[in-house]
């Protein structure tokens, strides 16, 4: 049994490299729809796409509206679906709205040459040099629908090595912006989306090609607790997208909050349901930003440099996630000897802290997350309980993004994951990125990702992205 366990451990680095090269989620996030609408450059909102600058963050949180937006800023005037005066006579007539005058579509294409090195159980080095031309294409749609509604959608097309195609709805959501009360305070979104629980570190808004897999792709499920990364489950530490209802807002320009209620993490359930349990997961986050531009774009009393990626600010936040999987379908697991079991994640909780520091051209940010899973092991046939144990894991990362000059920016990230299985070594990775904006909407990147547990496991990705 010990020998088998070791063999599994030896295979983990290889599995991780394969995951990073072939299975890792790489999602895009620049939306040129807004460049057209406002006739403005990508760099109004992005330090280097898809990473948002403080103004872009405010634009996003404002429901895709400029801070204190005036109609004159919108260079593609919307199609009126009713004069504003109908507001006064509602519900005698339909409440007025508008829609984008052009079909609000944008395309993002990514091509990558992935050079990967790893070694198998016998120590033999395996090298891949893979042209992924294209790696994916994203179709975006985003905009506003009158004064209080906005929307965001993304469909991703990917080619698979076997000649097939994957198409997925990454985002599809409707937002209600400033629904009532003070402006920016009460906003709602419904649909499938990246929760604002991850604001500032979700892959969609990172300048790097790789996401923070130690946060989003760790599987806590295993006979002794989770051992590594797995995109397809069983179970994940945090869902990078959710089918959920979220409320969020900004108070006093600098306090950000979000609370959400959504489908449980893990695989879907029977009868084409997206959750195998009727119970829903909850999440919440509270942040405060000191200095710099307000989270709603407010600049009262603040002097900001003309270089819109620069400011001096600190943002700190606390986040939590909770789910009850006691009514969910159990996961299939096997022990070191191949014996099959069923396992439920009866209760799972995550608590974490986020911090982001801007000083001139440097943005240093990171997250520390502690996870707890109450795992119930059962007989595969009778589902009789064999054992219930509580496992914990800790993940954290720190990332430094630096603007050397606007077209040339670099990033360095360290990730550390103490997995739930106590005998499995801690996962440590280093991710280094050099990005070059060939044009405002064309970007080339070289990204090096190394598994620090084994010097032969690394990937070197050369990526070309463009958006239009």
């Amino acid at each position: 049994m010990e020998k088998n366990h070791r063999r599994i451990l030896a295979a983990l680095p290889l599995a991780m490299v394969i995951f990073l090269v072939l299975g890792g989620p790489r999602r895009a996030g620049a939306v040129p729809v807004f460049s057209r609408k406002y006739q403005t450059s990508c760099q109004t909102c992005h330090a280097i796409f898809p990473k948002l600058n403080p103004f872009g963050e405010a634009f996003r949180l404002n429901g895709y509206r400029m801070p204190l937006e005036t109609p004159e800023q919108v260079k593609q005037p919307p199609v009126s679906l009713g004069s504003e005066a109908y507001e006064r006579i509602w519900p005698e007539m339909v409440y007025p709205s508008d829609l984008p005058s052009y079909v609000p579509l944008a395309i993002n294409v990514k091509m990558a040459d992935i050079y990967a090195s790893s070694h198998d159980d016998s120590g033999k080095q395996i090298v891949h040099n893979d042209f992924q031309f294209p790696q994916e294409a994203n179709l975006f749609s985003a905009g506003t629908l009158g004064k209080h509604f906005s929307f965001f959608g993304e469909v991703t097309f990917e080619e698979t090595p076997d000649g097939g195609n994957d198409v997925g709805i990454e985002h599809a959501r409707l937002d209600v912006d400033s629904a009532f009360g003070p402006e920016h305070l009460f906003n709602f979104k419904i649909g499938k989306f990246a929760p604002d629980l991850y604001d500032g570190f979700q892959e969609m808004w990172l300048m790097t090609d790789n996401g923070v897999d130690t946060l989003f792709a760790f599987s806590p499920i295993g006979v002794h607790g989770g051992t590594g990364l797995s995109e397809e489950g069983p179970g994940v530490s945090l869902p990078d997208r959710m089918r959920a209802i979220e409320m969020y807002g900004v108070a006093a320009h600098r306090l950000f909050y979000t609370v959400g209620y959504g489908s449980p993490i893990g695989p879907g359930g029977p009868n084409d349901t997206f959750g195998s349990s009727s119970r829903k997961d909850f999440y919440a986050r509270v942040d405060y930003k000191f200095g710099g531009m307000g989270l709603d774009g407010d600049t009262t009393g603040v002097t900001l440099p003309p270089e819109n990626w620069r400011e001096t600010s600190v943002r700190v936040g606390a986040l939590g996630y909770y789910g009850d999987g006691s009514q969910a379908d159990p996961f299939d697991v096997t022990d070191e000897e191949g014996n099959a079991f069923k396992m439920r994640d009866n209760h799972y909780g995550r608590i974490g802290a986020y911090a982001s520091l801007y000083v001139g051209d440097l943005n240093l940010f990171g997250v520390a997350l502690h996870g707890t899973d109450k795992l119930q092991l059962s007989d595969p046939d009778t589902l009789a309980e064999i054992d219930t144990t509580t496992r914990t894991y800790d993940a954290w990362f720190a990332q430094a993004d630096y603007v050397i000059v606007p077209p040339f920016q670099v990033s360095l990230r360290y990730e550390n994951l103490r997995v739930a299985d106590p005998v499995t070594p801690t996962i440590k990775t280093l991710n280094a990125n050099a990005s070059f904006l060939i044009r405002a909407n064309i970007k080339a990147m070289i990204e090096y990702n190394r598994d620090l547990r084994d010097s032969e496991n690394y990937t070197l990705a050369t990526v070309l992205r463009f958006a239009y």
Binding site: T70, P71, E72, V79, S80, L81, G82, S83, E84, A85, Y86, R88, I89, M93, V94, P96
Partner: protein
Amino acid sequence: MKKILIALTAAAATLPLSAGDIHGKLACKGAKDCAEAVVYVAAIPGKTFPAPAAHAKMNQLNMTFVPHVLPVQVGTTVDFLNSDAVLHNVFTPDACAGKFNLGTWPKGQSKSYTFTKECNATLLCKVHPEMEAFVVAVPTPYFAAVHGDGSYQIADVPDGAYTVKVWHPKMKAKEKPAKVAGPTELDFELSR
């Protein structure tokens, strides 16, 4: 426009000979221009003006109201002509214009309404909710629509002391005192 000029001329004929004008420029902060503003002399205590006999006209053409802003003197009857091949309607939600609803009528026909009170009336078409226009009914015959460059001129204003007001569909209304003695310059700055 021609009828407005006739009305203005008729009103001017009843005024003292020592008439000047009020002219100036408007700046609209945060807007492309001030083209839809109306500048007018507010009600003059103790003075009334007869309702103009001539009708003003607002057209419904290519599914828009033309003009978008129509200033008239209180008492003016406005004829709403449908020049489109589709049915149009005109109504207003504003109490100062009696919340009138003129029904629907086909191409080539018109319906009328007399604005008996000072009013900034929003005009809408129930058949086409995106259509919108304004009739600005002012208490004196001394008014002017502002040009695209922000300039305006109210002609033939008798010498005296007045309050001059500005209305704009998107901006906050503003007023200023004016002492007219011959040509008098009066500028405004509007904001949202």
